[in-house]
């Protein structure tokens, strides 16, 4: 099955390390990804807030571009892009009038049939089918990880059809497969407020504070994410969160592709671990993991 890759805007700028580590681990696992030529922004939350037609049209433009290179599925690492592309397919398939308007705007036909997959789904498939044992070069034994799914990967369940929306397991299964230890905690699917990050920063600091406080209390060494917006709220704004809440957090936030990359033997530099505001190196050292 030919797979197209849709990086999305964040993976080219503020979440460059997520894009780079996605491609690195894909190569290691033998997953061939071809970037969609000249992809455009999916419109994210602002597009659907303003116009359903605009939102679905921007996503469908990219899905058609993926079909043009002969892909049967589009792989996405950003949870927000993933949600938009998948919702667009859902709208086009379930509402003929939406489909007609979108096709008119695009001047092309599209039936909503190209598959949209999150990179985490592909990784989980590999774990189920072949296991990761043979590929693991670095054991992550003793490392305690809080898996944070946030909103858009799992909700709404009728559209995303991704995992249990209240207690998803895909990240936790990966953590276990890498020899690390998933912690039980309460905030794995709570919202970090990403859509309000610029416009209502205080809300985001409060929500982020609650999420990180719970992760810390659960004994986690780090928080694992699958979304660049979650990452930016929890890492880039962590110092602001500490100031706002008075909490002492110092909790590294890693993309699941970075943790997987570490286990596959890549160096901290290759995985962009130095790009985070809160460095994971001290905590890795504490657990005897040389990155």
């Amino acid at each position: 099955m030919k797979l197209a890759f849709y990086p999305g805007c964040s993976l080219e700028s503020s979440a460059k390390e997520y894009g780079d580590s996605t491609l690195l681990v894909a190569r290691s696992l033998g997953i061939d990804l071809e970037e969609i030529p000249d992809w455009i922004c999916c419109g994210s939350t602002p597009a659907h807030m303003s116009s359903k037609l605009l939102s679905v049209t921007l996503s469908a433009y990219n899905l058609i571009a993926a079909r043009k290179i002969g892909a049967e599925a589009v792989v996405v690492s950003c949870a927000s892009c993933y949600s938009r592309l998948k919702s667009a397919n859902h709208e086009i398939r379930s509402d003929a009038s939406v489909r007609a308007k979108v096709e008119k705007a695009l001047g092309a036909t599209y039936d909503g049939s190209i598959k949209v997959m999150h990179m985490l789904e592909l990784v989980n498939k590999q774990i189920e089918e072949k296991g990761l044992e043979e590929k693991i070069r670095r054991r992550l034994k003793g490392l305690k990880v809080a898996s944070y799914y946030g909103c858009l990967l799992v909700r709404p369940p009728e559209v995303m059809d991704f995992d249990d929306p209240e207690d998803p397991q895909m990240l936790d299964r990966l953590v276990e497969a890498l020899g690390a230890e998933p912690v039980e905690w309460r905030y794995k699917v709570e919202c970090c407020g990403a859509a309000l990050a610029f416009s209502q920063s205080e809300i985001v600091l409060k929500l982020g504070g609650e999420i990180l406080e719970d992760a810390k209390e659960s004994g986690a060494d780090l928080v694992l994410v699958a979304c660049p917006l979650c990452h930016s709220n929890l890492d880039l704004r962590q110092r602001n969160i500490e100031k706002y809440t008075g909490l002492d957090l110092e909790l590294p936030i890693l993309y699941f592709t970075q943790l997987l990359g570490l286990a596959l033997g890549y160096s901290a530099g290759k995985l962009g671990l130095g790009k985070h505001m809160i460095s994971p190196i001290p905590v890795l050292k504490k657990r005897g993991i040389q990155a």
């Binding site: 805007c9 419109g43 807030m49 920063s201």
Partner: protein, 184 residues
């Protein structure tokens, strides 16, 4: 005592049509409000918004902060026993509020939304540096998030140059065509 608030008799029907959601079936269990992460900051709870829509109390709904503070996290939609996708209702309300020029105390949110979409229209992909700059100018929060720029630049997490998308002309046309279709 009678309630003198003006009701709009067609408001419920119009919002149901625009959102594709049956707002009338809400029976006020309050699950949406209980699970909403932003409810504490809203002037109306999500369940109250639904009730006011049922009653046709348009002005109160469209001038609320709630419709703008809703973060689209979909927790309410996931848990609603009446299967109302509340985010879609919120989208319909936000669009209506903007079209009819309702003011809100959460004014920064619609400003950000507009700035974000203009950024896509202009560059094809989000150009973060320009996004922050034009949002700060439009909202009046001039130095917001500037504290993060030096470290982000140092760590090469902030692109100085705009993204290059060869289909950017096509994107502008798309925005235009969407607008035309919606006006019809």
């Amino acid at each position: 005592m009678s309630d003198r608030r003006a009701t709009s008799p067609f408001f419920l029907q119009e919002i149901e049509e625009a959102s594709g959601q049956k707002v009338r079936v809400c029976y006020q269990c309050g699950k949406c409000s209980a699970g909403c992460p932003v409810a504490y900051a809203m002037d109306l709870l999500p369940s109250q918004v639904l009730r006011l829509v049922q009653l046709g109390l348009k002005d109160e709904v469209l001038s609320s902060t709630t419709i703008w503070l809703c973060a689209s996290c979909e927790t309410c939609s996931t848990r609603c026993p009446r299967e109302i996708e509340i985010v879609k209702v919120m989208d319909a309300l936000r669009q209506r509020a903007r079209r009819e020029g309702y003011a809100t105390h959460a004014r920064e949110v619609p400003i950000f939304v507009r700035t974000f979409l203009r950024n896509i229209e202009r560059f094809g992909r989000i150009y973060e540096a320009a996004l922050v700059g034009s949002y700060n100018l439009s909202s009046g929060h001039l130095t917001k998030d500037f504290d993060k720029a030096p470290l982000m630049l140092l760590k090469r997490k902030l692109a100085l140059l705009p993204p290059r998308v060869s289909g950017v002309g096509e994107v502008r046309k798309l925005f235009k065509r969407v607008e035309e279709i919606e006006e019809q």
